[in-house]
Subunit: 170 residues, 2 copies
DNA sequence: CAGTTTATGTCAGCCTTGTTGACACTCCAA
DNA sequence: TTGGAGTGTCAACAAGGCTGACATAAACTG
């Protein structure tokens, strides 16, 4: 780590494109792009009493209906207390329904209600509009590269969750 | 928005790759990847008394030494009260130095101290290691696509900030 | 010069969303 | 029957956003 700012560039091989400057630009691109990515749903949520945490819960429940609390916990990477606070409000507001498991009655299976689905739709429409525009501007090859790099950036467990959701959705 | 889940796929043109399912996968990829992206610096920061907000401030001061408070405010997109809380601790901890402007004495120009640079290096090394691995695995074409899409996702002002930093760094 | 605007700092208070620790309940499995 | 897993909940706390209000100094403007 003490070999300076061109640690990866001096090799002179096919990894020349990995200068520290390129990597720094990659970081900054992630930072600025993530802001854009969340901006539209955030605006909608601000008017309701909800935040990004609610959005995430709604998104993943909508994506995998009947998922258990524990499953959701792993996907979201927060503590159960944190998730529970969010779920409690969503359930009492009638956006999410919690059903006791049929086989294992300790488990709660989570579903969106009609209202929940409506909000999910509204939020993801807003988010997708931006993504759609970005994908269209960038073109299919760029999108493929985008996805390849993002997948490579994930932690292995997250990559597994991602792959699982991906196959279930196709 | 009521035209269902294949709103963009039914056109049958070159935008076929923009199905809502593709877009949803894009969202989820962003979510999981961003978690990975911040994970390593977060681990380092947890041991100090600092958080992600400190990281961001240190990063951009290191990137554009002598930047003003107002400039940083625009880049980070937070309120001055929020930024000030972070800057105050960084300055009193001797990681950041604040100099009164030469021309305009109302402005404060921000610089990293030697200690600040050391922490910045440590944090960005951790972050770059992951990015480097991801870029290497994905290859140059994928990286180009990654950057193209991210740039297209940004708000216009953010894209301007990004471009400005990019040219200053090269 | 007087008045306004700009750049910055700071105080106080609020919200969301994360954390830990503790405890209770239900139920499955050995 | 006992241990452990899955869940819910209470309390307390911290980070880091936010708004509103106010202060100061410097720069700009008529």
């Amino acid at each position: 780590m003490a070999d300076g700012r061109h640690s990866s560039a001096v090799r002179g091989d096919s990894l020349l494109f990995l200068t520290d400057e390129q990597l720094r630009q990659g970081s900054e691109a992630m930072f600025f792009a993530y802001r854009g990515f969340t901006a539209d749903p955030d605006r909608i949520l601000a008017d309701l009493t909800y935040g990004r945490a609610h959005h995430r819960a709604i998104h993943f429940i909508g994506r995998a209906p009947g998922t258990t609390v524990n499953n959701l916990l792993n996907i979201l990477g927060v503590t159960k207390q944190s998730l529970n606070r969010v779920l409690r409000t969503l359930i009492s507001d009638g956006l999410v329904q919690s059903k006791v498991g049929r086989n294992d009655k300790r488990e709660r299976h989570l579903y969106l209600t009609d209202d929940g689905r409506a909000l999910e739709q509204q939020l993801s429409d807003a988010q997708r509009a931006r993504l759609r525009a970005a994908f269209r501007d960038a073109g299919p090859e760029a999108v493929a590269g985008f996805r390849t790099v993002l997948e490579a950036m994930m932690d292995p467990e997250m990559r597994a969750s991602y792959a699982k959701l991906r196959e279930s959705g196709t």
